[in-house]
């Protein structure tokens, strides 16, 4: 039982688990606001792309930038100047405004969470669902495409797929869409079989005992 269930824990977190519930809740509010603001300008994809770029490309390149963003000791004006320097002429005004708003409310440290949250919200709004496909061996691109299409048909939804490899599932396929897991792995099937065998054996033994006991 432990194996297939815990195998998911070995997966890369893939940004779908935010450990800090409080931060996640705050981030969602900002994410929603940013998406709505971008929608009004009709540039949702671009704004999200730019923010994601800042979080995933710019910040890792400058390791201390994150600390600077998160630090309450650095004043709002200072942060505003930095944001201006980063965004001037390179991004849409909405993106820059979003960063300014976060800075003014002292939430710039939550930028990564805000972006993750916004991406999830956007996917929801577009009817796309996050899906993780786990297999025991890596799949060829053609196979991946085929599986995604088939699953999309089965659940009648558009998927934003990610692929993972976990030899522990032995064989078969585990698809996780949102909080629902469709598990057709050999490992889980073996566990279920084991449970059934154990139950039947106990039942048979008990039944046999009742039949054989003198009373």
């Amino acid at each position: 039982m432990t194996k297939p269930l815990s195998s998911n824990a070995a997966e890369p977190a893939a940004g779908d688990v935010t450990v800090d519930i409080g931060a996640e809740r705050i981030a969602r509010v900002y994410a929603q606001a940013i998406i709505e603001a971008a929608d009004r300008k009709g540039c949702r994809g671009q704004v999200l792309g730019e923010l994601a770029g800042i979080v995933r490309k710019v910040l890792p390149a400058v390791p201390r930038a994150r600390d600077v963003f998160a630090s309450p000791r650095i004043g709002t004006d200072e942060k505003a100047r930095m944001i201006d320097a980063i965004t001037k002429g390179r991004t849409l005004p909405t993106t820059a405004h979003a960063l300014h708003v976060l800075a003014r409310h002292g939430r710039l440290g939550l930028l990564a969470e805000v972006v993750t949250s916004a991406e999830r919200l956007a996917a929801e709004l577009e009817g796309r669902k996050q899906a993780t496909f786990t297999t025991a061996v890596p799949l060829a691109a053609a196979e991946q495409a085929r599986i995604v299409t088939e699953v999309e048909q089965a659940v009648s939804a558009t998927l934003a797929p990610t692929f993972a490899v976990d030899p522990d599932i032995i064989g078969g396929l585990v698809v996780r869409i949102g909080d629902t897991v469709y598990d057709q792995s050999v490992a889980t099937a073996l566990v279920r079989l084991g449970e059934r065998l154990k139950k039947r054996s106990i039942h048979e033994i008990q039944y046999g005992r009742d039949r054989l006991s003198p009373a």
Partner: protein, 516 residues
Amino acid sequence: MKFNTDEIASVLREEIDQFETGIDVREVGRVLEVGDGIARVWGLSGVMAGEMVEFPGGITGLAFNLEENSVGVIILGDYLKVTEGDEVRSTGRLLSVPVGDAVIGRVLDPLGNPLDGKGPVVTDLRRPVEALAPGIAERQPVREPLQTGIKAVDAMTPIGRGQRELIIGDRKTGKTAIGIDAIINQKNSGVKCFYVAVGQKDSSVAVVIDTLRKYGAMDYTTVIVSGASTAAPLQYIAPYSGTAMAEHFMYNGQHALIVYDDLSKQATAYRQLSLLMRRPPGREAYPGDVFYAHSRLLERSAKLSKELGGGSLTSLPIIETLEGEVSAYIPTNVISITDGQIYLQPDLFFAGQRPAMNVGISVSRVGGAAQTKAMKKVAGGLRLDLASFRELEAFAQLGTDLDAATQQRLDRGYRMVELLKQGQYQPLDVVDQVLSIYAGTRGFLDDVKRDEVADWEKSFLTFVRDQVPELRARIEQTKELDGESERQLEAAIADFKRQRAAGESHGNRELAGAAR
């Protein structure tokens, strides 16, 4: 005895043949934090309140708090095996326990797992742990008696089948003893008994089980144990699962008795859970719904209507008070829920009056209708008489000279108090109770010395059993004490007194002879 291994092997082969890899669909979440029997879970977005969830390793939990973006789960089992990052799956089921004849005579944990080493509980019957109480149309008034075998209780705070009678008192005042005596007395009554131990020392529970076994009560009793070392979630659900097991018999037209020992510990466990779940604390830091926790539990005790088979579930919840403080939060709650209370007092206990029941403030709100006519007749004014005796007694301690009438009432009172003393595990048949209480209330004991009352009663009951069996049979049959029976009884008492006096003088002569 040998198992037919071939048979088992063939069953297994069959299973393997049918082995196919169906899709296992589950809704999952991930454990964010875990500790003290609760877990905070991320995900599980479709889980319902009270739904059972499963942790790796087959540990179950209950969705307790549904929050905006996490689920608070109480872990029923070894929470030390659950770690951060574990996958949690919802099961779509409610928590249920095995019920029926298979649980009778067993010692189980609150999930229905055996603790007595007598093998698995083999039954397909299960009932949800949390169930709605029967509604008003499904009930009828309490009218059948549930004899506890304790004179003081059966005479003054009678309990009817379907009633909830609270047993309340400080520690070490004999609360459990009343519950156990009541269970032992159900031996030939066909009432199935359930003893739910919540937060009790495992050693005391072992003693209780041993006692029940010794008096042959385990043949019709189930013990549900979640001791002091069990995690709070299990202590919290233990009374509900015990009730589920008992309800099964009620809904099948049978009678059941359940003793919750004790609900203050359950309230404490619930408080712990609620505080860990960050529910706002109220009075004495208990959560706001602790009243509901007890009321929905005790409402499940009922006397069902005839259409539903007329089964009943009687409950004896126990509450431990601190220094006699009945106006604390939990005691007042449970007093207001139940149909009466038996109040036990330490000073009475240490004065040798056992059961140490304070007659003045112990009541039974519905049990009177369930008393047999004979008992009602002999015990009618007993409660008030004893209460007024207590007052007089306090007055008499001032050392004033008393007039003859007052002195006489005092003497009667002293003898009644003596008569109501009863040893543990010595339940009395209701006819015997009627006989001895009749002798006491009608003044036949006034000339017996106070320290001889117990002995007098004992030999009188033996005398009636041996020499006037027709009187016993008559009362047993009619459940009434009509004029004829009363005449016979008075004659029997006179007879007995004569014999006793003769025996005594005989004994005295012998003693005198021996001295010479």
